[in-house]
């Protein structure tokens, strides 16, 4: 599309998030913040200025009491197969070029133009408004897995990429195959911490990984599928209203409807 050739990868890391299991407890957001060294914010209620690599949205069926229902939707970076953000970056600070299909973000390269933010319909990209200043002493609890970023650059979830590198290293050291990691050998912090096991993670192309089948389930869907960005994050819900809220279906009213043309 538009001269940008979608690259195929042999390994495609992906998530399948079971929305019927997500209680919205927030452990994933906390684990993400800890793993990725996001400094606490004085006013974290100003959601227009926070850094939430992983954000748990609240969805509502918009019905009045007592028929109201809600669901929680954790939104990491979708690591799109056809990312909107990558081709627009003027300085190649973000790329989707490594086996595994994770959309990278190179902080020392980023000039902070925010074009990628404008491009991403999932709001998965965040501008680092302020320097990461931790309360005195708390820098001793920094995770060694993610470098601290100066203000003025765009950041986002990278499926805890360092863990991917570590898993491959471990496989090499223990005689395993770094290009065929077993299911569970590489897990992002959010998937690891989730107390209900709502987040499954693995190689979507590897039949030995659970997500391979889960992503094809009849209740599986992706956000804004009609935009054809091909996210590598899938959601699952048995509730039809939840699945409907995954995309805009004004044209047909039905989820899963074919794109009319183009």
């Amino acid at each position: 599309m538009h001269g940008h050739v979608e690259r195929e990868f042999k390994i495609t890391w992906g998530m399948v998030i079971d929305l019927d299991k997500c209680t919205g407890c927030g452990a994933c957001m906390t684990a993400c913040q800890v793993e990725n060294n996001i400094a606490p914010m004085l006013d974290a209620s100003n959601k227009l200025r926070t850094l939430s690599w992983l954000l748990v949205f609240e969805m509502s069926n918009k019905k009045a009491a007592p028929d109201a229902e809600i669901a929680y939707l954790p939104r990491p970076c979708m690591q799109c197969g056809n990312p909107a953000c990558v081709p627009v970056c003027p300085v190649v600070a973000t790329d989707k070029n490594e086996e595994g299909g994770i959309v990278s973000q190179i902080y020392p390269r980023c000039i902070g133009c925010r074009y990628c933010m404008a491009a991403c319909p999932y709001h998965a990209r965040y501008f680092n408004w302020e320097d990461p200043i931790f309360p005195k002493g708390m820098e001793k609890a920094l995770s060694p897995n993610t470098s601290t970023r100066p203000r003025g650059v765009v950041e986002k979830c990278n499926f805890c990429h360092t863990r991917f590198v570590q898993a491959k290293d471990k496989a090499r050291q223990t005689g395993g195959n770094p290009d065929a990691l077993p299911d569970g050998a590489y897990m992002p912090a959010c998937a690891e911490v989730c107390p209900t096991g709502a987040i499954s993670f693995g190689d979507l192309k590897n039949p030995e990984h659970k997500v391979h089948e889960l992503a094809k389930g009849k209740n599986a869907f992706r956000l804004l599928e009609k935009l054809e960005l091909h996210p590598q994050v899938y959601y699952v819900s048995k509730r039809e209203w939840v699945r409907k809220l995954g995309d805009n279906y004004a044209a047909t009213g039905k989820p899963g409807a074919e794109k009319k043309h183009s």
């Binding site: 902070g112 709001h123 501008f127 956000l223 805009n248 044209a251």
Partner: protein, 409 residues
């Protein structure tokens, strides 16, 4: 006291009055400068931009001034390449306006990016797929071209021109001006188009996205056409504003009306295609994403009235006014049409910048609104003040208007 510096044979106000005017403008400039330094020191957290609106007033401002500054390359093209000689009466002004617009836009861009120290990465690590890379390349290059076009005018200043080296330099630059005009036209066409492409390629943003033919060449040419449809008339408006301010005649109305005719023709072509484009988008592309025309708008702040104002009131109306000789030849009507035209194109840039990203695409997300804060207004105001300063100095000391001497005799 600075009479010796004036261009030959023209009158200027007293130095005291001029100084007072400069102080007045400087106040705005310095206030903006303060905001700019604050932004460099603390980062753009001091602005009204946020996680939903990464682009805001600044980008709108940049796109608008780049469109309005298009008078420079287009008039240059017509004068030097297509040899429409009458345009010599206003060509200097178009160059100065273009220079102000482009240099101002570049200054705003350095504030707008989060890491201004890395601004040059656009050259060092370019992503050839990015429209923004093309924009960065072209506007910096074209800004250099504008400097080259502006320099001989400066060198023609009465006292400077007495220095033989500078005199020859200016002369040689003039001799080669057609070459620069050509380069300018080439660069400008590209980046004006790419600015449209910047939004047109946003595959995740249905308000802006155009697919296939509608992106190339369609959107590219829409942006080029819209820029040349307002740039020339903007120069006329600047000129007329200067005339009102100074009380002196600077360019004859015939030239102005010619500029109006040029802009009007371009605007007419543009608005015809723009309407086709909008119709195709609303009826074909949008439904394919499952969205409706109504979903693109929200309340008053992002209401449909904006699009209708842009296309009808500030598009179709000025286009008709400018291509109809009887209306165009009435000064009041010409200026009114010009103002509408410029508002329409600026509004277009605003909508592509802000409305595009305001639309919540996730069905469970809600609309957020954006209002620029004082820091963005102050810095944008600084660029306007900078324009006034450059223009005031140029008017006072440089031979900008070849007709001035004759018309005010």
């Amino acid at each position: 006291m600075d009479r010796a510096l004036f261009p030959d044979g023209v009158e200027r106000c007293s130095f005291g009055k001029f100084a007072l005017w400069m102080v007045f403008i400087l106040a705005f400039f310095l206030f903006g400068l303060y905001a700019m330094l604050l932004i460099f020191a603390k980062g753009i957290v001091v602005t009204g931009l946020d996680n939903y609106f990464g682009f805001g007033l600044w980008i709108t401002f940049d796109l608008a001034v780049i469109a309005l500054g298009a008078g420079a390359f287009f008039t240059g093209l017509l004068k030097y390449i297509l040899k429409i000689d009458q345009l010599k009466n206003i060509i200097n002004l178009t160059v100065i306006v273009g220079f102000i617009c482009y240099s101002g836009a570049m200054l705003v861009l350095t504030m707008d990016i989060g890491q201004p120290i890395r601004a040059w990465f656009g050259y060092w690590h370019p992503n050839v797929h990015s429209m923004l890379t093309e924009v960065i390349f072209c506007i910096t290059c074209y800004c250099l071209v504008l400097v080259i076009e502006f320099v001989p005018l400066v060198l023609e200043q009465k006292q400077l021109n007495k220095i033989p080296f500078l005199h020859h330099l200016a002369h040689n630059m003039h001799v080669n001006m057609a070459l620069f005009a050509g380069i300018g036209a080439f660069l400008s066409t590209f980046h004006q188009g790419s600015l449209g492409g910047m939004y047109g390629v946003l595959i995740g943003r249905p308000y802006a996205l155009r697919e296939g033919f509608f992106i190339w060449p369609w959107t590219f040419f829409l942006f080029v056409l819209s820029a040349v449809g307002c740039g020339p008339i903007f120069t006329v408006l600047v000129c007329t504003f200067m005339e009102k301010l100074t009380g002196r005649k600077l360019v004859d109305f015939k030239t102005k009306a010619l500029m109006g005719k040029i802009a009007g023709t371009m605007l007419t072509v543009y608005i015809f295609f723009k309407i086709l484009d909008t119709w195709a988008w609303a009826n074909n592309y949008l439904p394919s994403t499952g969205m409706t025309f109504d979903q693109m708008f929200y309340g008053i702040i992002y209401g449909k009235w904006l699009m209708f104002t842009e296309i009808i009131l500030c598009g179709v109306v000025p286009a008709i006014m400018l291509i109809t000789p009887s209306i165009r030849n009435n000064p009041t009507m010409l200026y009114t049409a010009g103002i509408l035209d410029c508002i329409g194109i600026s509004l277009n840039r605003y909508l592509f910048t802000v409305q595009t990203i305001a639309i919540p695409l996730l069905p469970f997300d809600s609309w957020h609104t954006y209002a620029p804060n004082w820091a963005e207004w102050a810095t944008s105001g600084m660029i306007v003040a900078y324009g006034f300063l450059v223009m005031s100095l140029s008017y006072r000391y440089l031979p900008v208007f070849p007709q001035e001497r004759g018309m005010n005799r």
